[in-house]
Amino acid sequence: MGNFDKKLMKFWEIFYTNKGYTKVLIGLRNTLCIATLGLFIGIVIGTIIAGIKVMPKYKKLPKILEKICDFYVGLFRGTPVVVQLLVAYFVVLPLIGIKLTPLTVCILVFGLNSGAYVSEIMRSGIMSVDHGQMEAGRALGLSYRVTMLKIVIPQAVKNILPTLGNEFIALIKETSVVSFVGASDLYVAFSYIGSNSYEFMVPYLAMALIYIVLVMIIASLVKVMERRLRKSDRRN
């Protein structure tokens, strides 16, 4: 293992003495930033789409809106996120002539991408709530909107929270491709350290560890939240 000691020394030299850790911190910040903001945008878009999809279709407008939503979901679920990133950054932006930083592009693309997935999660969450809950609210004279907001969605959120946590974890892991458009994340930071020390074993091991720790923290946070929301299911 003498070899490993030497590798560790080399890594430490670049990581600590040559201030490689600042890059790692920036990478970590960017990773979290893209995943969190991406999920936030995703939840907003997803809730809107799910709302449209479960709306009763008496009138023409919801039908048209649903077609648009179907197209959107199909588009973003039908292509890999790397392709979406590349197309957004190298095709769409130059065509419409807007300049955005790679980080902003990444946040937007991940947001749009997870919106497509979250919409399905939300929809199944809303569908999983017994239809009788909606009927009971309507029978008391509450409107569709009020019953949805006060009764159905709170129960749906409780049902989908674990799945939403999974979506966040998936996002964190997927952000490792953002270097394709030049945003710096954990991968960029550690491959910088690796190529400066001509040694990749320890940096990539460290990178893997950071991802695992991140995911474990999020998973335990989701568990805590879930337990709180399960309050009304518990027998006491």
Binding site: G132, A136, G137, A139, G141, R234
Partner: protein
Amino acid sequence: MIDVINLKKSYGNLEVLKDITVSIKEGEKVAIIGPSGSGKSTFLRCLNCMEDPTSGSIIFEGVDIADMKVDINIYRRDMGMVFQQFNLFNNKTVIENIMLAPVYIGIHDLNVKKFKNFFIKIKNIFAMKKTPLYEINTSKEKIKAEARENAMRLLKRIGLEDKADVYPSTLSGGQKQRIAIIRALAMNPKVILFDEPTSALDPEMVGEVLDLIKQLAEEGMTMVIVTHEMGFAREVATRVLFMDGGRILEDSTPEEIFTNPQNPRTKEFLSKVL
């Protein structure tokens, strides 16, 4: 009170209700009996437009509520409904279940009045003839306090005041259904529709729910009950409708129907269930 005129309901090609015309008067306790699939639940659910009628009209308090342009929510406040599956709000405690609709609707109406008053005040500045303001003699706190008091009174009535702050998942079926009934009562409805209120209950809990419905009947509440409890229908109802194949085949007093049924289908059905 409720006049049903030429009511038809079909799902696709399946015609569930075929031209029903019937009139329910104030204070009547109408029991609807009939075999499964005869359309009795659908008929009941059409009365407060939980199912939109395909054609025909339902006149409640002089207004055709089957008309899609009518704001159905206002009329549903006066028509309580009790479901087979109780349908208590799972994310709310018992007392919140009972208070939710009265509080929300009370505050909503208050806000609407305030909003209108605001515009009337502005108009009054310029108008020669002053428009009187809507009278506001309540507040959010008052509405909430009154709703809570009323809910506790109703809970005491059914002897479940100690369950006020628990969630519905901890209750037995009979308790849930009794709470669902007083949740409907909390809106002070003019009529209550019961959709097979005891069909999802264990046999030992049927009695407590039927007793509560009986009490309401004795107090003079108008009610329409879809039921399979023939003994109960005979005892409580003032009028019994026998439905089969989407039509009302017999409409008479319970004595008449149970002792001397006229229609052969009624005879056949009663001979099977009695």
